[in-house]
Amino acid sequence: MREKILYVLGIVALAILAWNINAIARLPQEAQQGVTFKIIFFHVPVAITALTAAAVALLGSVLFLVTKNFKYDALAVAVTEVGLAFLAANLVTGSIWGREIWGVWWAWDARLTSALVCWLLYAGYLMLRRAIEEPTQRATFAAVFSIFAFIDVPIVIFSIKWWQNLQHPRPVFWAGGSFPPDWTRHFLWNMAAMLLLGIVMVAVRLRQEEAQREIDSLRRMAHVL
């Protein structure tokens, strides 16, 4: 039953994306950047989804350390993996945009650099997990590292802002820029679809973790017998 709901939700997310991409493609071109501007419909929602994932990963890690319930460890790892994929999508779409507008694939700008450092931090989290065999130790150490990484993110962002001035365009929504209303609507649809897609991926990953734990315990039982 749960699996069927997941599949349905996944299909819904993909359907929204497909319909919305079609609609976005028909929107008029932006005055200065032309069609390239439309990458914002993907670039920003995946970034927000990745940030949400980082916050949930912190929550899962803290809850694991407090309760020692493996449910939260599974949540932390699922959310980190999915968040890492979304952050990678964010970096790649940003890089494509930069190639078109700036003429370079990469600039050592504050936002780009801090996003890259975040990616490396959470990639380290996954590598740490792979290096530890014992489940309790793996979950504890990973949770500790996740807390360290999350605290690091704001310090990284501030320090790199001092180091390099911003080349990355200011966010449209906070800096007085404006979207026409129907653009905002399509943006929000994409936002919802990305978040839903993220949630479905996390849920699928959680199922895998559960199955993995079951296999481990069965294997231990077989050893005892």
Partner: protein
């Protein structure tokens, strides 16, 4: 035994073990020399530009050489199950961590203080004009390196690929601290004192040290005992 006495005992024990074997500090210093040598191939070592990148160069040497000391910090306790004995000893995890961090701080500082004049000679840089401010930045940056390195040394001591994992985990976390230390060191080596526009880096470095020392002290018990 009071808390600080416990810290002191652990630090002295570690330093004594290191001074008797010299296994980490010799390797670390030799490694620092090798990196300094390799850098001379990467750019013209006598040019004026060396001074402009000196901070980055020095801190890369310190971070890489320091990792060798930090790797040994907890790994040294593995033979004869010394680590289990230390955890079972009637001292808190925080005292054990702080003692080890202090010993590592002194060892890494020693490597740095020997590397600095060697750097000055090899690259023909007069680095002493802002000596005391440079020492302050060195101490703050090294404490950041050792506090993160020591807690992650405890984290990685029992796992596969220990030597690979420690730098993989520490360097990304250390990005803000290394960035600040590099900026300040470049200025100080070039003879520019810390001014109003670089003071923010100093504050950031102090903040980094305070935050991560506190977080490590809170979490070390979890890391050691589980």
């Amino acid at each position: 035994m009071g808390f600080f006495r416990q810290v002191f005992v652990i630090a002295v024990k570690d330093l004594r073990a290191e001074i008797r074997t010299k296994e980490a500090i010799n390797a670390s210093f030799a490694f620092a020399l090798v990196i300094l040598l390799l850098f001379s191939f990467a750019f013209d070592p006598s040019a004026e530009t060396t001074r402009e990148i000196s901070g980055g160069l020095l801190w890369i040497v310190f971070a890489f050489a320091g990792a060798l000391v930090l790797n040994r910090s907890f790994a040294r306790e593995l033979p004869n199950d010394c680590l289990d004995a230390l955890i079972a000893a009637p001292i808190s995890g925080a005292a054990l961590f702080l003692g080890k961090a202090l010993a590592n701080f002194l060892l890494v500082s020693a490597v740095e203080l020997v590397s600095l004049p060697v750097f000055g000679i090899f690259y023909n840089v007069r680095w002493t004009s802002q000596f005391w401010e440079l020492m302050l930045v060195l101490a703050l940056g090294t404490w950041a390196l050792t506090v993160i390195g020591t807690i992650f040394s405890a984290l990685t001591v029992n796992i596969r690929l220990r030597e690979v994992m420690l730098p993989m985990l520490t360097y990304p976390i250390l990005v803000p601290a290394l960035l600040g230390a590099m900026q300040l060191t470049t200025d100080l080596v070039a003879g520019r004192p810390i001014g109003p526009d670089t003071a923010a880096w100093l504050k950031m470095l102090i903040g980094f040290d305070v935050v991560y020392t506190a977080v490590s002290l809170v979490l070390v018990e979890t890391v050691l005992v589980g």
